[in-house]
Amino acid sequence: MSTHFEQWDPGLPRARRGAVRSLDAPRCLSLGRTAPPPDGSQLTPPPRMTVRERLHQKISAGFYRHGLLCASYPVPIIVFTAVCILTCCYPLLKLPLPGTGPVEFTTGVRDYTVPSQESQGDLGERPEWYRGPPVAYIQQVLVKAAVSPWDSKLVPVDAFRSPLGRVFTLLEEIRNHVHSDSSGVRSLEAICLQVTDLLPGLRRMQAVLPEHGCLLVSPGNYWQNQRELFDSDPDLLKTVHQHEPKGLHTSDTLRDLLFGVPGKLSLYSRKRVVTYTITMALSNYDARFLGSLRARLKQLHPSVNCSLREDHMVHVHFKEEIGIAELIPLVTTYIILFAYIYFSTRKIDMVKSKWGLALAAVVTVLSSLLMSVGLCTLFGLTPTLNGGEIFPYLVVVIGLENVLVLTKSVVSTPVDLEVKLRIAQGLSNESWFIMKNMATELGIIIIGYFTLVPAIQEFCLFAVVGLVSDFFLQMFFFTTVLSIDIRRMEEVAGRGRDAAPQPGPLRPREAPPPPRPSPHTITLQTPAFRNLRLPKRLRVVYFLARTRLAQRIIMVGTVIWIGILVYTDPAGLRTYLAAQVSEQSPLGGDAGLPHMGVAPVFPRGDPTSTLSVLPAPAPTPLPENQSRGHRGPAPGHAPRAVPPIPQISWGPEDEEVWRRLSFRHWPSLFSYYNMTLAKRVAALGLAAGVLLVLLLFCLYRVLCPRNYGQNGVPHGRRRRGDLPCDDYGYSPPVSEISPLLLRGHSMDIECLASDGMLLVSCCLAGQIRVWDAQTGDCLTVIPNHGLRRSSSSGGWEQRDGWDAVGMCESESLGGVDGLEMDGGPVGAGGAGYPLRRRVTPARPSLFVDQPDLTPLIDTNFGKQPPSQALADNGFDFGGLVERAYNEHEASPTLGFPPSPPLAQQRRRSLGDQPILPPERPSPSPPDWDSSVWALELRGNLIAAGRSSGKLELWDAVEGSLRCSNEDGVSGITALAFLNNRIVAARLNGSLDFFTVDINKPLGLVQYRGNPGRSSMPPSPCYSSEDVISCQLTRSVQCAHQKPITVLRAAAGRVVTGSQDHTVRVYRLEDSCCLFTLQGHSGGVTAIYIDQTMVLASGGQDGAICLWDVLTGSRVSHVYGHRGDVTSLVCTTSCVISSGLDDLICIWDRSTNIKLYSIQQEVGCGASLGVISESLLVTGGQGCVSFWELNYGDLLQTVYLGQSSEGQGVRQLLVLDHAAIVCDFGSELSLVYVPSVLEKLD
């Protein structure tokens, strides 16, 4: 036993482990029966399972679920991912564009000297570019002015006129300032930066920008620095605005240039303070001249509350253009990068759109990089590495491998699976690899981090964050894209392959069934190629994808935008060119003359550009910045210098006002403090990782139903309204299969048997009906007293007195009444037997050459022996009858639907004597006071075993009792009818073998041949003239110590299972007991045997044993269920078992590994059948579900009726011609399965 147990090790790493459905959860048992305490060994975790394996398994399962999730909600996930990417990339907006961002360096102004040209070894924290003289020094004089006091009579433009007018006097002052000391006399002309022509394209600017002279810029330039023009200007604002570019503009506007402050500060300040600057560009730095100028200005405009610092100078370095020498390696790396991407994406195969997926892969990597940079920036780390340079390496480090592996894995999953399962499986298969890979890479990168080289650390940091975000994107973005792609591919494939399914409404009973292919050759649409009804949103997406609408719109938009730029921007493209020039000539810009803006000022032949090949810093004396504490007394309307106008004050924000110009061109001051950032950097990577993990987790909690993998639960609770759609939104077409309802029984169906042609059912009322299994016509009703019963004096009241009624009346009052009786006797004699009989499905027609045709009806007798049932609070049979009784009382006339007369008519039309078998005097009258416990059908003979121990043989066509045998007294619990032998198992454990003899008066045996089904062996047909006798040939008195619960016959063997924990195998011919199989630790409740001598048994202990019938040895032994095993079916590859825990488990037959389990409806656990090797059918609440057996994939659910909420399917019988019959309350439902999946390979 132990070896077997170890063999069944659920921990075995197996590719399919990912498909493991949730394990059995303890459930409320349907029959109010307490579950037996589970066998301890059943639940012990598998013994030998290393941490690695467990981890492997967990990762695998997690990825599986994740795959399901991604494939189920593609659009929301893509949207979510896009939002994530955008959010993470948002900080990038603040970053300088690569290569153009200026860098700064601040020095004290006091001991400033022009840095030497060559680098001097150790410069401390001096930047490398801080060498050689700067191109220019920028000095700004900031003017803030306001009209004070503000008179309400003034018009708004007056707020500008006077303050702006002051600029001219100031300009004059500055221009004329002369500083003379021992070294000579200097004026601004001497030290200012001389400019020559404007660029040819900037004629419009000629009027306002200085040419051939000092570069001195102020708002006065609008009026050519002439006071007269200013005074005569009727509309100042218009003059200012006429130079504004119309529409969109990319560079700083002229106003920004002239005012020298950000646009929003200059004119339209809320407090009517006008702010502007006078900007001077100096070619060399003369501290004394500037000092004197400053003193002069201060003297002219004393500033009261000026608190500005004056002691530093900011050097701004604009990156030089990348030279050809640097470009070559860069280009090389990019070429290598593209080759890498090309060779990688070339491997993507078997998908709908290679290009799409390749694009998605590249997008994944690129976005992860952007996210990485964005996240790093968000956490305060400014990238100092040249982004363009490290970018290819980052891509290579992050790699496209996972993406490719994923694609490969997914496309190599079986094509016929549902898309989301394919995704899930593919993901799960590669989960271990992916995780391992990622862990390795992270490890390497972390090692790299500990090299403590700042550049490498930064690189590693980016790589770590990039890896994590790449993983995130792979899991969410790429997987989802992949699922969409595969869905599209299958849609296309399915469209090509599918014959359009013929959806039809619920067929009326009379409608002829559609032509059915013979079993095992039917090829039906595989699930993957089912017609998918796409949700609207996807259709929209597809529409967009098909027409490339988005791309076109974007393209057109871009073109229009570029056009607008070209034609509306004053400088247009030329500004852009000029910007290039300015980058070439490193420009120092204090007070934030943004290089873009200054650009037009520099002609191409700017002498300064030759000053240094290397980028030159631009030391900029800031201190004089505040020298002009010019307050607003100037305006004429304010004649006296008003005591401080409160709104004009100097503060640190004024000092920094130049920084706010062209904000994105100033990288952080901390560029050179990378070392201090190092610690934050480490935490950042971790934080990003943790954040993502948390995010994932939350997403799971929110989106993923916890029991996602349990196929049964979501379906189990579904109602008619919600189809068994996957959450993605499409549902398998339901209308394809329409059940045929066979109405006629008045109470719940109890027994069900079929031989392929006919169908016999027996309800709780004891009425036996014979149906045509193909058309669903009711052929015979036994007993046929339905009409009379309704006219009789309402038999229910007679129940109590019925015992006194003579036998002679039995016929006249009919079986229905009689069977009401059996509630009485049984209730009296045995209280409630747990009679949940199950008719296990007949096998497909395997019996070609054997005389014994099929396995027979088996009543799977409850889980308990009747003796125990007394003590137990088991299934109360009496209660059920009582319920039926009450229902019946409520509407006595509706007890029988109109089919009985019809059936009777039909029967009459067969031309037989209506009621009694005429030539048989011997059969004792039918026994109506016992219920039918077992039913079997062979040919046209129905064998019915009754609770009284009586065996009756009925003519299925005529409804007449052909013979009966009352040799036994113990109730017949199970019957097997093979060839001409009947085996009956009794409640007392004895086993009776009967032989059916036919005496043919006419000496002829007719065979009811069916022209259409030559493959079936003809069933012997007994004509009505035959005298049929049933003789007990052998009775094995003590076959079992306890009641026999299950009886199966096939392949010339009869197998019985009993409450005494044993299984016995008999030979059919001579009733000889071949083996007694011991191995169960509880009563045997389910047995399966088929033509190939596969014998499986399940017991109350939840164990399933496989036996070798030839040797009687046990092949394997697994514990599969909590509680009884109620039903067992084997296919060539797997064993399907159901238990009282309402789980259906599918086991691999060779390895005994549980492949997966399906949670069933409460009480419907035992109804299952196998239609073909790969199609499983299970019953549910008012529906039957078809499953793909190999992968546990729900194919279809067929609803049996419209208003069938509470009815569960308890019995399910598979007929030979791909039809199934199941009980459905008092009705039978015949479901043809045209769309059975049959794998041909």
Partner: protein, 224 residues
């Protein structure tokens, strides 16, 4: 790839001659490809070094590196061709065909990492030379582990790196060129690591190219 396409047409009727020409042309084509790759990489990487003033050639060389230092790229090209042909040869001699990551994407990755190592050696500012050398050594070993993982590859890489370092020492000793701040006799201490990584990379490329020959040879029986 190119030779793979060219092969079927080149195959003549005569079986013996065909095989010989096949092999030879194959080898030549491979050699040429490897040579060009080597030259190209040498140019690019040298440019990196020159840019950073790591290597000092005589002044005229800086003016036109392509003309005066003409001998560097051909040397590198020849070396890489040799290495690239040697690797598959040794693989077949040892009878242990290289199976690890035989894809062009992997090769490209390898090349990119190699360039990255060079880049790091030239551009990243390390605190001291020991750190730089150790980092590069670790990177090189990592390169080998990631893309090669064969003992023969490792052995060959170490040998060739040693020889190449020796050769460089000699060259510098004789004043052909010099390093700005030599810390390992006359050269930089990271040079062996670079050589090692280069050998691994070229070996990788060579093996990948040789794969086509194998394919062609294998496909031939099917064709006939």
């Amino acid at each position: 790839m190119a030779e793979a396409n060219g092969q079927p047409g080149a195959r003549a009727r005569g079986p013996y001659i065909a095989v010989i020409t096949n092999r030879t042309t194959n080898m030549v084509i491979r050699g040429v490809m490897l040579f060009s790759v080597g030259v190209f990489l040498a140019l690019v990487l040298n440019l990196l070094q020159v840019q950073r003033n790591v290597t000092l050639f005589p002044p005229d060389v800086i003016a036109s590196i392509f003309s005066s230092a003409w001998w560097v790229p051909p040397c590198c090209g020849t070396a890489s061709a040799m290495i690239g042909l040697l690797y598959p040869c040794i693989d077949s001699r040892l009878g242990e065909p290289h199976k690890f990551k035989r894809e062009w994407s992997s090769v490209m990755r390898c090349v990119a990492v190699f360039v990255g190592i060079n880049h790091a050696s030239a551009k990243v500012d390390f605190a001291n030379n020991v750190q730089l050398s150790l980092t590069l050594a670790a990177l090189s070993i990592g390169l080998w582990w990631t893309f090669d993982r064969s003992r023969s590859g490792f052995g060959l890489g170490v040998c060739i790196a040693f020889l190449a370092t020796l050769a460089t020492q000699l060259l510098v000793y004789h004043g052909v060129f010099q390093y700005t701040s030599p810390d390992f006799l006359y050269i930089r201490s990271w040079l062996p690591c670079i050589f090692f990584a280069g050998v691994i990379t070229m070996g990788n490329i060579g093996r990948q190219l040789a794969l086509y020959e194998c394919k062609v040879v294998q496909e031939k029986p099917h064709h006939d």
